[in-house]
Symmetry: C2
Subunit: 288 residues, 2 copies
DNA sequence: TCAAAAGTGTTGGACCTACACCCATGT
DNA sequence: ACATGGGTGTAGGTCCAACACTTTTGA
């Protein structure tokens, strides 16, 4: 599609006169994990977890961060991300991913201008990951404040994002401000305090919102579950991510289209056996 | 939040050893435009339009492109974008915007590795824009092909994206391939042919999908409408973007919450007068 | 008078919410 | 026996698609 004139121009072209930023790809890796319960009857409690590694170099040495790297210009963006998680935490191929958002605040990296293209990765608890730690995600709604102004409104929210591994607790305070004024609309996510490196708490928060929203209109949740699962397991998974309780009977009816029964049952659990289901991949394909 | 050690490190830090890419911000600017009708009774036909400028320099000289620029490291990303549209097409402040996606394919710019952070901008037809042309957007669904494979499916779609201004017609062929195989999922948007510069047809296509999807769960459409509008105007706007016809009575009931009646009426149109409505900004705020 | 848009009414069905209720299991 | 989860049934309401119908207007 290039013209001859283009070709000639490109032979002589020397790279942009503009000063360039550094660019990284960063991966927010989630899984759902079954915490063991003391009571033999009770089902394990499900926790949403995020994978963090401890930084070995300055800046933010010894702080925890999501997995990321400066991009390699010989790779596609997603290849850079995939190579990174494969090298750094040995996560290979057994995950879902999607691009999340591109963060480029001037002050987000003290070294220089660094733009982060972030990805959300979903995997399940049978997948091995190495070199970091899984942190339980606990997002607490601290306060909400709505003001009506002429031609719109201001909505302010505060959250606490607490991340807990076996050895460490990391606290983060997040402040959201949505301003709607006529046609103009602004959404700001700010960190009031963070135990993580860089603005990684903000990126994790953004990923949590995306994940929650996508539950409603996609079948993204199955990427966090094993191949076969009970309906109560599926319901608990929804509840953890949505941070609300659902009614059992209604849940079963609503999700019926998304799953297919298998001939397997789970037994030996101190209560009635439960049928195992698997994801119905084709639910939204309208196959004729 | 930086330690003393960090500070010392930063004093000595010289910029990344990694080779850096160039980064641009690019704006897909949409509006809804009323095409005049011959028949005095009929309402004007609404068209979704996108704003393109003709490139003055190589490469792709004289090709049409969306508005964009290399980023300025002294600006935030959205500031770079806003400064760009203000300078290049005189579009100032009277628009809605959101970050769309970051495109970074290795071959998307023949000059060098250029990563594009794209934005979608929505404005209305009373806003002046200068230096380019508005193109009617016509997206045609050419073919769909679904195949079931073990553990998933392959979905292939072809579209034609035709862009028409008063003087010019630009044709683009787009090929979508969605592969779902167990937990792994891939979505590719490829250009089979394009009259636009770079991969800008792909970016516009992506924006069209986003806009259509967001109609369902946001009130984003009001950014494309004047302050006051009739319900039929609103309905036609939905129809143009969704590319499907809606039933009038049902539409009125469904959108009732999103709008507020005003005391104004539209007259002089060869048919019954119609009440003018405005956007109810607060519909999803749950004001107690 | 009439074509076009504005706007209302109705009916059957799908789905949703809330709750009550029974079943099966391992200790 | 019993606590726990597995699973079904139902009554009332809401929402929705589809269609028919009436009203109002300017030329």
């Amino acid at each position: 599609m290039l013209t001859k004139e283009d070709e000639k121009f490109l032979e002589l072209y020397s790279d942009s006169i503009y000063e360039k930023p550094s660019v990284t790809v960063d991966a927010v890796i989630f899984r759902l994990f079954d915490k063991p319960q003391e009571n033999y009857r009770k089902l394990p409690e499900k926790k949403l977890q995020v994978y963090l590694t401890k930084r070995q170099f300055l800046p933010y040495k010894d702080k925890y961060s999501i997995v990321g790297t400066f991009i390699d210009l010989n790779f596609e963006l997603n290849q850079s991300m995939q190579y990174c998680v494969s090298q750094k935490v040995n996560l290979k191929n057994n995950y879902y991913y999607e691009q999340l958002f591109t963060f480029g605040n001037k002050d987000r990296d003290p070294r220089s201008r660094v733009i982060s293209i972030s990805y959300m990765l979903l995997t399940n608890q049978s997948t091995q990951v190495e070199g970091g730690e899984w942190f339980d995600v606990d997002l607490v709604d601290v306060s909400t404040n709505k003001k009506q102004i002429k031609g719109g409104y201001v909505l302010e929210k505060k959250y606490e994002l607490n991340l807990t591994s076996e050895t460490t607790t990391l606290k983060n305070q997040i402040f959201i401000k949505i301003t709607k004024n006529g046609i103009e609309e602004q959404k700001n996510i700010e960190l009031l305090a963070s135990d993580l490196a860089f603005d990684h708490a903000r990126i994790i928060f953004y990923a949590l919102e995306r994940l929650k929203n996508k539950l409603e209109y996609t079948d993204i949740i199955f990427n966090l579950l094993p191949e076969k699962f009970t309906l109560t397991e599926l319901k608990n998974s929804y509840e953890v991510i949505l941070r609300e309780k659902l009614l059992d009977a209604n849940f079963r009816r609503k999700t019926a289209k998304l799953v297919m029964p298998t001939s397997d049952y789970e037994t030996g659990k101190g209560h009635r056996t439960s049928q195992l289901f698997e994801h119905n991949n084709l639910w939204n394909l309208d196959i004729d």
